[in-house]
Amino acid sequence: MSAVMLEINGLKATVASDAKQEILRGLDLTVKAGEVHAIMGPNGSGKSTLAAVLAGHPAYAVTGGTVTYRGKDLLDMNPEERAREGVFLAFQYPVAIRGITNSYFLRSALNAIRKHRGQEELDPLDFLSVLEKKLKQIGWDDSFLNRAVNDGFSGGEKKRNEILQMAVLEPTLAILDETDSGLDIDALKTVAEAVNALRRPDTATVVVTHYQRLLNYIVPDRVHVLAGGRIVKSGGKELALELEDKGYDWIKPEAISA
């Protein structure tokens, strides 16, 4: 039996600037090593908030519940500590950083994480050889390494860039926040293949998505429906197909009554 990687109990969160605006209302979720979980749900159900809260986004305040990650209190860690401990959030809207090249940014991030792990920092040459292996692994060329981070990137390039960062930083727990939104089918397949190539028995992935189509390519072990800030239904991969078929409307009454 695999070890529990992430244990969320009764998680409650509000918008940081408005305590009355509660988005997560007692959410429970358990993710074991080696698993892929999909979080689905209608717009406004709290999917992206869950992803942001797990990464420590300052725009949200946790008002209740616990999150245990590999036996440690995740909520007690700063965003950079979470990243160094192996949590990675692929952003729905990756941010452009002017004047900083992708390769420089990636090396700085990787070295911050390596330092935390007690590993030696990589110089530019060593880093380049690591990077080339990763690019090969996910089947991409190096065309966007010397461009400023996400600056002037198309929507698809930004999403690919998130996956490249994920490949280089080798997270233990990867959270993909609507990585499929805005991608055409070819880009979607490429991103999914890259994610699949990075799956290992000692890592876990949480895929947040509105649509089922990504799950044709990243096959989940568990599918959860999030509505009204709680998980209202969980099941196997067939639940995603059911959602695709019936939509989310049938979920809502359950969420309200719960």
């Binding site: 950079e80 952003f91 941010v95 002017r98 004047g99 900083i100 420089y104 940014f105 991030a109 920092e121």
Partner: protein
């Protein structure tokens, strides 16, 4: 002294006697108060130029004695005495002139460096003057720097004129890092011939008060201009960039990017005027001014001024103003970088956005080191 030179000085003196110092009641000087300059009596400074022409043979760098005919043909023809009282004042005190003249069809690959310092006892005024003339189809890189004068409450009043012949290409970088008590007033006026390319970067790091008027005339069809600038100020420093790009002919393009980083009580002013003359069709012009305010007391004012008299043109402008973006900070932290490193990286990136556009690599690398030092981000791992 040649009669044309004396006559030019006299015209400058006459114009200045007529108009005197500008006041904040004049629109162009609304944000920059020069009363302290007007109320100071300055002695004469000794200008100390150090010139490194990198051993290039085909050019003439030097004072009037070695480049008199070039100077006579061009000096004072572009920097308009009527446009700025300080240009008139600087012309009235014309002394030696640094002339860089590149003959037609000559490619000078190594950067030509002109570095100005001034000395004098007490409170002095220097009037550094530069003339850069590129013949048709020639190419050069010129770095003009104004270094710490260490001369107390002094005034540097500099004028540079740039003339590009047909198809000429100039990479021009001007760095101002004078002492915090010095006032620095500068005029740079360029005049571009057909299909010429000017890539200009102006960097303001020093001086307590600085005002730089950059004027560019695209006087030949197909001319291309990159007019960039970067200010990094702190304390009570003040910088005022006034740029005027004059699209006088069709099929020209201008790209303008001015970024300012203001910490503590520093203040930045940007006024970007773009004129598209009647008949200057197919003009492509883009202006961007970004201001990063690192403290609640820092301030920046940005003013675009578009005057378009042709109908088939593309002109865009945009300005930003504010502190570091919290979403960007979180993005960097979520990748394992400490909040301090994230702040340094974003601030540096803001400056590097201008530096990375400098085409000449060794020049860019020198400036990169200088800017890292100025921003206090040497601890960022080297790129």
């Amino acid at each position: 002294m040649s009669s044309w030179f004396t006559e030019l000085r006299e015209r400058g003196a006459a114009r200045f006697a007529e108009v005197g110092f500008p006041t904040t009641r004049q629109e162009a000087w609304r944000f920059t108060d020069v009363r302290a300059i007007a109320g100071t009596s300055y002695g004469t400074a000794t200008s100390r130029w150090s010139v490194d022409a990198n051993g290039a043979k085909a050019l003439r760098v030097g004072d009037l004695s070695s480049a008199g005919d070039i100077a006579q043909a061009h000096l004072g023809r572009y920097a308009d005495l009527a446009a700025n009282p300080f240009t008139a004042l600087a012309t009235a005190f014309l002394d030696d002139v640094q002339v860089v003249s590149i003959p037609a069809k000559t490619d000078v690959s190594s950067p030509i460096r002109l570095s100005h310092r001034f000395e004098g006892s007490g409170t002095v005024m220097a009037t550094p003057r530069v003339l850069i003339v590129l013949g048709d189809q020639s190419r050069a890189t010129v770095i003009e720097s104004h270094e710490d004068s260490g001369a107390g409450d002094s005034l540097s009043n500099s004028v540079t004129e740039i003339v590009l012949g047909q198809g000429a290409t100039l990479d021009y970088v001007r760095v101002q890092r004078e002492g915090a008590k010095t006032s620095h007033i500068a005029t740079t006026q360029s005049h571009q011939g057909r299909d010429s390319v000017l890539r200009s970067t102006s960097i303001a790091l020093g001086a307590g008060l600085s005002r730089h008027d950059l004027g560019a005339v695209l006087a030949g069809t197909g001319a291309s201009l990159i007019l960039n600038g970067l200010s990094v100020l702190s304390g009570r420093q003040h910088v005022d960039y006034h740029t005027t790009i004059d699209h006088a002919q069709p099929h020209c393009e201008s790209h303008e990017l001015f970024n300012g980083v203001f910490d503590q009580h520093a203040r930045g002013v940007f006024n970007g005027r773009i004129i598209v003359r009647p008949g200057a069709q197919r003009t492509d012009s883009k202006q961007t001014n970004n201001n990063l305010l690192l403290s609640g007391e820092a301030r920046a004012d940005s003013q675009p001024q578009l005057e378009i008299y042709a109908d088939d043109v593309k002109c865009t402008h945009g300005a930003t103003l504010g502190p570091l973006d919290p979403t960007a900070l979180f993005y960097l932290e979520s990748r394992g970088l400490s909040p301090a490193t994230a702040r340094s990286m974003l601030t540096y990136g803001f400056a590097a956005d201008v530096l990375t556009r400098i085409a000449v690599l060794p020049v860019r690398e020198d400036l990169d080191r200088m800017i890292r030092g100025r921003l206090g981000v040497e601890t960022l791992a080297a790129a």
